[in-house]
């Protein structure tokens, strides 16, 4: 796979700036990652990092309407918050490459924080919460399952927040503190990628960002999850058409041994129609109408999740046993070399395809830099490739034991 080349420069105030050149596109991406996510929140103010992300679009001292100049430049922007970090991106035609420097440096130090925008964005976020989590069938699964898997770690709530009330309660002083603490050069990573040369990219960075006071990098340590002594179960009833079963396990974090194994196992279980769970439990035995396995891919201890919608007339305990049958089979007999080759090939094609997008590349570079080194982007393929069938089997024996499981029975009221 061809290497993704980049240059890195750290400004005097601690801001990390990364440049990647891609001359096949007429665009420039300006991506800013702040090292703050839902895990940094106060447990009684959950959802705050995401609410704050909304406030970042409410204008600054110099630019009252943030989106305006960017749209006028023919550009687009958006942002997302997850449990580990918050990411903002601007995509502009190359001839307007300097515009996002102006805008992003301005909102790194002069954000317009006021009661009116807070009041307004609380309302918007509450509607978002309702639209995506309350008004959707099965929309609260993440709330329930995170609460089961995590007893110590702040991953126990999703980024939207634990409760609508936490968002309603957010105060202006919280907003000011949060901005002061987390939104500063030392706590940010900027990636500039696309049709722009390195000298220009870095000299614009000096020009717009170097006089912003450094601030402090926030190194926060959390309690790690203790090993789970025994299986946990929860039954939840809702107005949904079908019963569902969700089984989740704690698994290694992004930089720990076992992470890539976990990722490949979920592909063996449910990626494509020839995958184990899909073929055996949806097609052959008709236990589930849909089934999926995935990992949450978080920096600290992550979740390995299997979830399936149980067909009418199938006993929920039987459905659960069928999933366990597949896990036991993996623990006992492992996988074939053919299966391993298959998921590696799928992963490789996926990664190459994903690299065709300038925005994906930019976000990945920033994310890997957060993990410690942007060059990890070039090592990922070999990390998957080095995995053996034995590694896969030992992961299932180490992390997918019954006593480590968290089972959510999500049952239909009718």
């Amino acid at each position: 796979m061809s290497k993704i080349h980049f240059e890195r420069k750290v400004l005097n105030n601690g801001l990390t700036v990364i440049h990647h050149s891609d001359r096949d596109t007429p665009f420039v991406v300006f991506n800013t990652l702040y090292k703050v996510g839902a895990k940094h929140e106060n447990p009684s103010r959950t959802g705050f990092a995401h609410l704050f992300e909304h406030l970042m679009f409410e204008g600054t001292k110099n630019v009252p309407y943030f989106d305006g100049p960017l749209q006028e430049a023919g550009g687009e922007n958006n942002a997302f918050t997850n449990n580990d970090y918050t990411n903002y991106y601007d995509i502009v035609p190359a001839l307007n490459a300097e515009i996002p420097y102006w805008l992003e440096s301005d909102r790194m130090q002069h954000l317009n924080i006021n009661a009116k925008s807070l009041r307004l964005q609380k309302k918007v976020v509450i509607e978002e919460f309702k639209e995506n989590y309350i008004n959707q069938p099965y929309g609260d699964i993440q709330h329930l399952i995170r609460g089961m898997v995590y007893r110590q770690h702040p991953y126990q709530w999703p980024t939207i927040g634990k409760d609508l009330k936490h968002i309603q309660d957010a105060a202006l002083s919280d907003v000011k503190d949060f901005y002061q603490t987390h939104y500063c050069p030392a706590n940010a990573i900027v990636v500039i990628a696309g049709d722009i040369d390195c000298d220009t990219a870095f000299s614009y960075a000096e020009k717009w960002f170097s006089d912003i006071p450094s601030g402090k990098m926030q190194e926060v340590k959390y309690l790690s999850e203790l090993p789970q002594p025994e299986a946990r179960e929860l039954t939840h009833y809702a107005d949904v058409p079908q019963n569902m079963i969700i089984i989740a396990f704690a698994m290694p974090g992004r930089l720990e041994k076992g992470y890539f194994e976990g990722d490949l196992i979920t592909d063996i279980l449910s990626s494509g129609h020839s995958s184990r769970l899909h073929y055996r439990l949806v097609k052959e035995q008709e236990i589930f109408s849909e089934i999926d396995a995935y990992i949450t891919g978080s920096n600290d201890t992550g979740m390995f999740v299997i979830e399936g919608r149980v067909n009418e007339g199938i006993d929920i305990q039987h459905a659960k046993n069928c999933i366990w049958g597949e896990i036991f089979e993996l623990q006992k007999n492992g996988i074939t070399e053919i299966e391993l080759e298959k998921v590696k090939n799928q992963m490789l094609t996926y990664m190459r395809f994903s690299d065709a997008s300038l925005l994906n590349k930019s976000i990945s570079l920033a994310y890997y830099e957060l993990l410690g080194d942007a060059d990890l982007i070039n090592q990922e393929a070999s990390q998957y490739d080095d995995i053996t069938a034995e590694d896969i089997q030992s992961f299932t024996q180490k992390y997918l034991q019954v006593h480590q499981s968290n089972t959510l029975y999500y049952l239909s009221n009718s």
Partner: protein, 423 residues
Amino acid sequence: MILRQVPEIHSLVVPAFRKPEQNILSNGLVIYGFPGIYHDITRVDIVIDSGRWTEKYPLIAHSVAKLFKSGTNGKTAFQMSEAVDHLGSTISVYTGYHGFNITVYAMRKNLPATLELMFECLSDDIFPDSEFENYIKNSKAKQKVQEEKTEFIADRAYRNAVFGKNHPYGYSPEISFIDELKHEDILSYFVEEVKNKKPVIYLSGTYDDSEIRLLESIFSGIDYPEKSIELFHSIEKNGDPLHQKINKKGAAQSSLAIGYRSINKQHPDFAVMSLTNTIFGGYFGSRLMSNIREEKGYTYGIYSSLQTYRHDGSILIQTETSGEHVDACITEIESEINKLQNDLIGSEELKQARNYLLGKYLSRMDGAFAQMETFKNYQIEGLDIDCFNKFAETIKSTTPEEIRNMAQKHYNFTAMYQIIVGK
């Protein structure tokens, strides 16, 4: 202190659309090529002029797409999937309103084997009974979940009202449609509308002459009949009431769908209309978003879109909001339409929307895959790619008076359907 000036915002230059390379196979099939180096990834799109438009009953084309890899005389569904998955390739099949699309992604070295598997399905699909039954069962389960979503119900009621619930543009899945699917209809649609109809091929990403020869060796043995006469569907005036309120027990929000039949891209007003609609509700900086989200906080998002098809079109305004804000949202939508019809837009706002839209045009030709997608979609909608260039040109010079005229001509609020789904 560093001296800085606010950087100047440059007006966008949208270059003319790059015409594809064109190859014609010995049996007359046309291949459009969009070369670009992407880590040795090659994409092939096979498009057949059928889709929803030529099906006898709702969901037939969709079902054929879903069952495309369900088995041939030589391979079971499992063997077929395993063979494709093992190459790390994907063969995804979906039906649009007019195009039946088969998309193949592969690492270049695996393209020959992947295309062979795709062609085995295309020439030899048998749709086994067990696969069909399993598909019906799982589709119904999925549909029951859809029936719980207020935005799905609102969108369906809206389409039904505008085009009729049996029209290709007017229906959305229903349990009863799934119940009525017949195995033999699936098979005959496949034979008549997919297998034996002349496709158009789009090749993009990493390729050279050897891929053209590969396509020649796969497809040239077939003699396709010349294009058949295009069907005509009339719109049923089903007399759906203009205002509908559909009750959904326990809904935390209501979904709104407001709009009516309108123009498509073939209409001479389209370019100016698309800019008008962008200003009204087509992007984050639109009037609807600024007012109803950013000023009032009634919703997470509100959009107006022009839904254009080869033979028709519609305007759809849609949003989700808490029950207590429904009436206020509707009032604000109406007042934004009135403003657009009565007041001339300011030059700053016009410039912003125009450049935003031109940026979109630029991104539709950003790289080989995007170019291919844009070109293909224009062809499926029955348009020459020159229209793309003309639209961009027109948008560059649209005046405030033209915007106001468009709003007066095409946004008649009192004639619009209003669908509300919620508590």
